[in-house]
């Protein structure tokens, strides 16, 4: 079991970072629907090969939902119904589908252990502040969601923001009662986090070694080549008028 776990391939954090950047570049230059679909399928294949097979179904569903929203928006726009609504629906559907590609890689980058992430960014010779910033930002968004849920449930217990009508009729007060604890909690988390970082020696300016080993191997390179090849092929076919 232990040996199997050791053998299992886990991409290097730098690979996820490069995937993110490559994904952003690809969605900017690839414009056709089929080209974007190829890119998305390549993204799913990469997740499958990287051992994230469980993510394929939800991402596929998101893609279909956003396709449906886009299709509905375009259909309404074509029949001249409520232009302001239909145009926004179509934009949400089209842009969100594109964003799924880099976002899915960013989620994997955020899932990397903080130590590995810091070591990988240090190996890229990025300033320490950039490493700390990236690690904190990627990790903090799920924390905000958790804190928000905890505050909401405690406010509901006190009868604040119970139901849509109550929330809308007392909107400023509800916003204040949710926002202020969220901000206070965030400053507390920030203070605890900086204390924890100091204890772990983040401020140490000398040479540091990571507890977790990070290694950019041929499998990482192969996955990057796969995404690059799909992007270039889609772009080439698009420019030559095939797609």
């Amino acid at each position: 079991m232990g040996a199997e776990k050791r053998r299992r391939f886990r991409p290097d954090p730098r690979t996820w970072l490069l995937f993110c950047l490559l994904g952003i570049a690809a969605i900017l230059v690839i414009r056709s629907e089929i080209g974007c679909l190829c890119l998305f399928l390549a993204c799913l294949l990469i997740h499958l090969l990287a051992g994230n097979g469980g993510k394929i179904l939800p991402y596929g569903l998101y893609y279909l939902i956003f396709y449906g929203i886009g299709w509905l928006g375009v259909g309404l726009m074509d029949s001249g119904v409520a232009f302001s609504v239909s145009s926004m629906l179509s934009s949400i559907g089209i842009v969100s589908r594109k964003v799924l590609v880099p976002l899915s890689f960013a989620v994997c980058l955020a899932g990397e252990p903080t130590g590995s992430l810091m070591a990988a960014l240090q190996n890229l010779h990025l300033p320490k502040a950039a490493g700390i910033g990236t690690a904190v930002v990627l990790r903090f968004f799920p924390t905000i969601a958790g804190e928000y849920r905890a505050i909401r449930s405690s406010q509901r217990f006190r009868g604040i923001g119970v139901g849509v009508l109550h929330t809308l009729t007392h909107l400023p007060a509800t916003a204040e009662y949710i926002l202020i604890p969220l901000i206070l909690r965030t400053t507390k988390v920030a203070e605890e986090l900086s204390a924890s970082m100091t204890v772990r020696g983040v401020r140490f300016s000398g040479e540091t070694a990571s507890y977790r080993s990070i290694r950019f191997c041929w499998k990482d390179a192969a996955l990057l080549v796969l995404l690059l090849a799909v992007s270039w092929t889609a772009l080439f076919l698009e420019r030559s008028g095939v797609l």
């Binding site: 089929i34 910033g133 202020i180």
Partner: protein, 203 residues
Amino acid sequence: MKQSKFLSLKEFVIVLLLACVETAIGLVVTMPFAANLQLVYFLAPGLAGLINGIIYVLIIRKCPKIGTQFLIPAIYGLYFLFAGSVYVFIFFMILAVVNELIMLGGGYGSKIRSAVPHALTWMLNAMGSTLTMLLFRDSLVESYVAMGMDAASADAAIASLEGFWLAPQNIAIALVAAAALSIAGYALGMKMLDKHFKPAGIV
């Protein structure tokens, strides 16, 4: 002990996390209006500026140092980078530098000067949607066609969209609304500072 002009690790993390909360609020506020063009353009950025004014005031009161003004738009710009709008990200990075320059030389001591970077950030946010739409123009036409619209109708639909996003009067309304609501947010933040944060011992 002489205090540094630059952010310490603790202050850096505080600004970073509160800037993340600002970004999350900016996105959450836009969601209910996402299906309406006018509301997204004229109301959502200002409303985000209004609510985020509270966080902004806390940030600048807690960490009035070099680096604070850079981080706030930079974190918000990162969201646009991940959304595929590299140009909007670059605009936010430029704004980040401009905001730092505005606050140099005792900017944190002035209540009026401190409000300017906040207003500028949310004004750029109002224009960010316009730029995103412009950058994806060709892509939108192709997607409309692929989804069953004929090329002429798709082009006409995009032209109507451009007519809305680029009309000078609409740009003016969006900028004025964002600036006015952001400044109101800043004033609200000053009020909340005395009402909640000072008694809680946060500042």
